[in-house]
Symmetry: C2
Subunit: 241 residues, 2 copies
DNA sequence: ACCTGAACACCGTTCAAGT
DNA sequence: ACCTGAACACCGTTCAAGT
C-alpha cells in the first residue's frame, strides 16, 4: 500500500503482444525498484564501494543523472532504501517471543542488517524514513513496552528511547566499519596501548582498569547497551506500579 | 578578533626595534592555535556556515590550502578541535557531585557543547580523539562507575557503555540541528500528523498512543536515555553484590 | 516519457612555484 | 619555513538536447 513500486508486473502468462522493445539502445530501462536494488548491492559492498549517484549509474548501466527521473534527490532514494533494509530486519524476527526477547531480536537484527549495509545505517543514524516498515518497527517496540506494562506518555517516551538508541547504536557500528583501516587501527591502539601508558598520578582510574579496557569487545558493549534499555523499561514499570 | 580581515594596523607609536617582520605580504601568519580557534568560530555558526577548508581559509584570511602546513589533513584538525570542545564540557562540570550527578552533569555539558558546535559533535559521534581531554573524560566516567561499586571488567564495559552512548546521543541531536529546515519539518510532521492517520487495524499500538507520541519532547527522550545509563550501572552493582 | 551529457557549484588534497 | 594558486579527482544536481 505504501510501497512506490506498485506496478505489479500485471501482464499474465498469455504471450505478451509486443515484447516491450527495451534492449534497443543503451539497455537501461530504469524503474524505481531496479534503482533501489542496485543501491542495496552497492551498499552491501561496504567501504570498498562508495554509495554515490555516479557509482549507481555505473551499476545500472545508465547515465548517473537518470535516477533523478525516478527520485527527487539522493535523500529520497536513501529513505526508500533504508525502509527496505528495515524490512529485512523485521523478517528476521521470529514470532512468539516475550517482550524482552523481542527487543533483543530487533537489536540483533538491526545490527546484522546495519553491518550488511553500513552506508545506509550510518546515514540513517539521525533520521526517520516515515515509510511502511518504520511504522511496523514502531508498532513492534510499542507492543513490547506495552506488554512490559507501560501506558500512555510513559510508553511513548520509552518507545522513543528504544528507537533512537538502537538507531544510534547500529549507526555507530556501521560508521566504524566504513572508516579507513588506518583510522580503525588508530582507534584500537588507543585501547590496547595508549591507555596502558597513561600517567598513574593523573589518571588513577584508567591505570586501575587499563588491562580490562583493552579487553572490552564491541559485542560486550553492544549487549550492555541493549540490556540497559530493557532494564530501564523494567525499572519504569516497577516505579509506576 | 572575529573579523576575517585580521591585518591589525600594527605599527605602534613607538618604533619597536625589530617588529618581527610579519605584516609584510598577505598578513596571514598561521599557527595551529589560530586555525583551531577559527574552526571553532565556524562550527559555532551551525548550519548557516559549513565547516570546510575553503571556508576556513576565508575565516583566516589565507589560502584554503595553508592549513595543510599545520595539520596533516582535515580529520586531524577535527580531532584537535573536538578535544578542545571536550575541554569546554569538562570545565562546565562543577566539583563535589555524587557519581549519578556527575554523569548527569557530563551528559548535560556534552549536550550543551554539542548544540553549540553541531558540526563537530555530529562528525565525532563514532570517533575517539585520543587526546588529553578525552583521557580526562574517561577518568571521570571510570571514577563514577567505580564510586557506584563496579570493578575490573565490569567497570570497563560500563565505561564504554556510558561513553559510546553519550557520544551517540549528543551526535544525534547535533546532526538533527544541521538538517535542512525542510528535513526537520518532515520529521516533525511524522509525529504530529502521520502517526495519527495510521490504520487502526494494522497499527493498534500506534493508534493507542498517537497523541502521546506527538507530545514527546527531545528533552524527555534525552533524560530517559541518560537515566537508563545510570539505572543500568545501579542494576549491575546490585547483581554483583 | 525517459535518458543523455555538458555544465555548475561545490568538496578535500597535492604540488610546483613563489617569498 | 611557510604561503599561494593552479590543478586533480571527486561530489550532488540542473537543464537543454536528444530519442
Amino acid at each position: 500500500m505504501t510501497n512506490p513500486a506498485s506496478k505489479p508486473a500485471s501482464k499474465p502468462a498469455v504471450p505478451a503482444p509486443a515484447p516491450r522493445s527495451r534492449s534497443k539502445r543503451s539497455g537501461s530501462q530504469l524503474t524505481p525498484e531496479a534503482i533501489v536494488q542496485a543501491s542495496l548491492r552497492i551498499a552491501a559492498r561496504g567501504s570498498s564501494d562508495a554509495f554515490t549517484v555516479r557509482r549507481l549509474g555505473e551499476e545500472l548501466g545508465a547515465d548517473p543523472t537518470a535516477v533523478y527521473r525516478h527520485f527527487r534527490d539522493k535523500d529520497e532514494l536513501l529513505l526508500e532504501v533504508a525502509d527496505r533494509t528495515l524490512g529485512e530486519v523485521l523478517d528476521s524476527i521470529r514470532p512468539g517471543l516475550g517482550w524482552q526477547d523481542r527487543i533483543r531480536a530487533l537489536a540483533d537484527g538491526s545490527l546484522a542488517v546495519a553491518l550488511k549495509y553500513p552506508a545506509v545505517a550510518s546515514a540513517m543514524a539521525s533520521r526517520t524514513t516515515r515509510r511502511a516498515n518504520e511504522f511496523r518497527v514502531v508498532e513492534l517496540i510499542l507492543g513490547a513496552v506495552t506488554e512490559a506494562g507501560l501506558r500512555g506518555a510513559e510508553a511513548a517516551v520509552h518507545y522513543r528511547m528504544v528507537g533512537d538508541s538502537l538507531l544510534a547504536l547500529v549507526g555507530q557500528r556501521a560508521a566504524y566499519l566504513l572508516f579507513s583501516a588506518e583510522a580503525r587501527a588508530a582507534d584500537e591502539s588507543a585501547w590496547s596501548r595508549e591507555y596502558r601508558l597513561v600517567d598513574p598520578q593523573a589518571f588513577p582510574q584508567i591505570t586501575a582498569v587499563a588491562e580490562e579496557l583493552a579487553g572490552v569487545t564491541q559485542d560486550a558493549v553492544y549487549q550492555a547497551r541493549v540490556e540497559a534499555l530493557i532494564t530501564a523499561i523494567e525499572t519504569s514499570v516497577a516505579q509506576h506500579r
